[in-house]
């Protein structure tokens, strides 16, 4: 295994760890907003690390550029989505713990 494979795989594993943490947060945290907090870390940081790792593995400027674009757009989409959902949740008045079942 050459150095770039090692570096790429390490970044990839770190990214996966962030996703794992995000999932744990989604499952274990008590209310919408703290879950949101956990999840956005996975979205931003996890995807960044995975993209960086894959770019190092691929060793191709075009691929690296595409991965950068994917991460940037993903960042934008995730922030807007998270913002909209948080607003929605606040309007729905579910800021404290859980409310009974109903879409």
């Amino acid at each position: 295994m050459s150095w770039h494979e090692v570096v790429g795989l390490v970044l990839l594993v770190l990214g996966c760890a962030f996703y794992g943490a995000g999932t744990v947060g989604l499952l274990r945290f008590p209310d919408v907003f703290s879950r949101l907090h956990a999840l956005t870390k996975a979205d931003n940081q996890g995807l960044l690390l995975i993209c960086a790792g894959l770019a190092v593995l691929a060793r191709d400027a075009r691929v690296a550029f595409l991965l950068a674009v994917i991460w940037l757009v993903g960042l934008l989409a995730a922030s807007v989505s998270a913002h909209l959902i948080a607003r929605h949740a606040r309007h729905a008045g579910s800021s404290h713990a859980s409310k009974p079942e109903r879409p």
Partner: protein, 310 residues
Amino acid sequence: MSVGVLVDVMLALALVGLSLRVVTGRALFRDMVLFILFGLVISLSWSRLGAPDLALAEAAIGAGLTGALMLMAYRRLVEGGAEDSPGRRRSFLALPVGVLSGALVAVIGFAALGVERVPGAAGTLVLEELPGTGLGNAVTGVLLVFRGLDTMLEMTVLLVALLGAWAVLGEARPGRLHQVDRDTPLVAALLTSVSPLTLLIAVHLLLAGTDSPGGAFQAGAVLTGCGVLLVLTGTLRPAVAAGLVTKLLVIAGLTAFVLIGAGALAFGRPTMALPGTWAVYLIETAMMLSIAVTMTLLFARSRGLYPERR
């Protein structure tokens, strides 16, 4: 290779589990959300099976558009006072029918897998003949060159679906869409950055589609995503009547197909024989526009759209 099979098994389990929850769930909204995830997993399966053309279409349509369509229809039902009834019919037939039809599919599948592959099968023939068409993507080749008639008829189906939807549309009610609040600047930022990007990707898919994964359907689906985004944010508003441009765009794909396909007859060539790569690009562009406009109208549940004036 065993890791590959492990991935396959996980995807398969996710598919079965999700479909089971979608079908037997007790809250309609939740089941629609699960259905969206089902589309995501199907898209992952296409990626895994080595069919990026399908993964592209599924990502835009299966995971995005169908889900958005259902959520909007659900919204209208709730607005109209419909109850989210978990209603379920008791039927002694249901379980046996489900089990038997599943078993039947499995039996047919295993029988089909057991049949020995002959060298002249359609797929290999296509790959053999492909260099003669000037196209590099076998799927696009099948869609436009080898089975052009099917694709033309598909455009007809799309048109009929739209006409049908127009026919059942209420008279004076151009779908009242509930727009997303626009007082948050993020939505505007999203629109200004994402909609040009979707256009770019659509054009890229269209042009790349002759040689690599992509093509009119995928490009049309992406463009539909852009249209739906604009409708959802209220940038495009439903109109009561269809304008001339809208009507022309809706029939553009079918028209291009008929003109070029039947025009071949006038020059003494077989029907649907395309005269060259330029014809492929022309038809694909027309199809992309038709698909995008038709689907966006189906989504907005209106006869036309007009841009919001501010």
